[in-house]
Amino acid sequence: MNYFLQQVINALGWGSILAILAAGYTMTFGIIGLVNFAHGEVFMAGAFAAYFILTVFELPFWLGVIACLAGSVIIGLIIERIAFKPVRGAGLITLFITSLGASIAVRNSTVIAFSDRLRSFVFPEFLKGIYQFGGLMIQKKVLVIFLVTVAICAVLLYLVKKTKVGIAMRSISYNSRMAESLGINSEKIIIITFIISSALAGIAALLWGVLFGSIQASMGALAVVNAFIACVVGGVGNVFGAMVSGYILGVGGALFIAFLPPDLVGLRPLFVWIVFFILLILKPSGLFRANIR
């Protein structure tokens, strides 16, 4: 039992990162039907911005927080402007392909410019150390990541559920033409959605750096596939569903290999796909209801 609980605790860090990434992913998917494979690169951009501030220039941590947000939001908005805005309303496949193109372009230019080697990510001392509870251990940073994520999820849910902008987002996701005739400027709301979604990717990137202690140019590739699956599992556009699914995939993946024989540990990436295919067969609309809710 302790072994099981310990595995769950260890996986909370990765689960949190997935939850935040998936929440941001699902918002743009829900509002303009964008399967955004460039979300991983928005994520990577935030990680690099924070890396330069914290590791290269050794500036204070709060500047790293600002840097990851700024890096992701700027890249996110540039990609939106160049790759998505010109094909707005063109349908799922077109958007999917341009996002793939944007993803490849950004990732490979970064690899060319900085190479794809692992770079150590410096984070402050107060995030190091381990707490003990009975027989269980939790790393300080995992606890902090988890708490930060819960707080962010709460704020995001409040924003989507209760505020004017949130209601506007959800009405556009269902019927943008009708929303416009109520006076909602859908273009403006879409940009706001991109800013929020990118900022979430930036936070996830910072948490990734703290959790794993390193970043690299291709880090978005794995993350975005997981976020995409979490988004579909949670019901496209359902922010709460995406968060829960992020944790399900993160924690489930850890348990999956924890109970596999050691020589099969290489099968770890299989877990999300197993969940994905079972879901597509049994409940293709996702565990929770679709459309931004």
């Binding site: 209601i167 959800r170 009405s171 033409r177 009708m178 929303a179 005739s181 109520l182």
Partner: protein, 242 residues
């Protein structure tokens, strides 16, 4: 008359893509009036409303609101002028609750108090919506959804309402209720441009009417004169002229 009409369409030609649906349409709605567009299915009534909302391709003509040329305004700015829209088929946001649908309708309002005031007003017009306020809108019945669509278009404190077939597919007592409600809304000072397949209802509550055929206006006049007009009867009452 020297007064500036609230809404004026002058020689409007519009449609979808290359296809023109309405041709040379001129309509006036004066402040405080209920004006109705009559005509059988497919003559371009809905297209006329959608053209006012900038949701069609306008080829020629002018749209003026309070004397201001608003022809090339995007949809959301048309709404910001004080024009609200209740589309055919309701188009409520099924993914939102009843209350959230009404809040979406109040998007343009600046103050919280006004939102609450309008919410109370809609709930007093349609008490059933208050009971359903936290229910997901797709679970409402057809009649409730129509009330919600009308309620939503009232939430922005509009000056002019564009209503497309509000009584379509509703039970007779509901049609009655919608009619009374529209009269009440109008009495509160809101002008209405109405499309309604129920010509009797439409002409009862209207001041003025236009009859459309094949994308153009073939007849216009005071509602009380139109009631007795043979061409109007022909379309709506199924009376075939011998």
């Amino acid at each position: 008359m020297s007064t500036v009409p609230l809404l004026e369409l002058k020689g409007v030609v519009a449609g979808y893509g290359k296809m023109d649906v309405i041709n040379d349409i001129s309509i006036r709605v004066n402040q405080g009036e209920v004006v109705t567009l009559l005509g059988s299915n497919g003559v371009g009534k809905s297209t006329t409303l959608r053209t006012i909302l900038a949701q069609t391709d306008l080829k020629k003509g002018e749209i003026k609101y309070n004397g201001e040329n608003v022809t090339n305004f995007p949809t959301y700015r048309i709404a910001a002028l004080g024009i609200s829209y209740c589309p055919e088929g309701r188009e409520i946001f099924s993914n939102l609750t009843t209350k959230e649908n009404l809040q979406a309708g109040a998007y343009l309002l600046k103050s919280r108090e006004e939102l609450e005031k309008n919410l109370d007003r809609v709930y007093s017009l349609f008490p059933i919506l208050k009971e359903r306020s936290n229910q997901i809108a797709e679970s409402l019945s057809g009649g409730e959804q129509e009330m919600l669509a009308i309620g939503r278009s009232l939430m922005s404190s509009p000056n002019l309402m564009l209503l497309d077939e509000p009584s379509l597919g509703l039970a007779p007592q509901l049609v009655e209720l919608i009619g009374t409600t529209l009269r009440e809304i109008n009495k509160a000072g809101v002008s209405i441009l109405l499309i309604e397949q129920n010509a009797k209802l439409a002409l009862e509550i209207s001041n003025y009417g236009y009859l459309m055929r094949k994308g153009t206006i073939v007849l216009e006049g005071k509602a009380k004169d139109l009631v007795t007009d043979e061409r109007v009867k022909e379309i709506y009452l199924g009376i075939v002229k011998v």
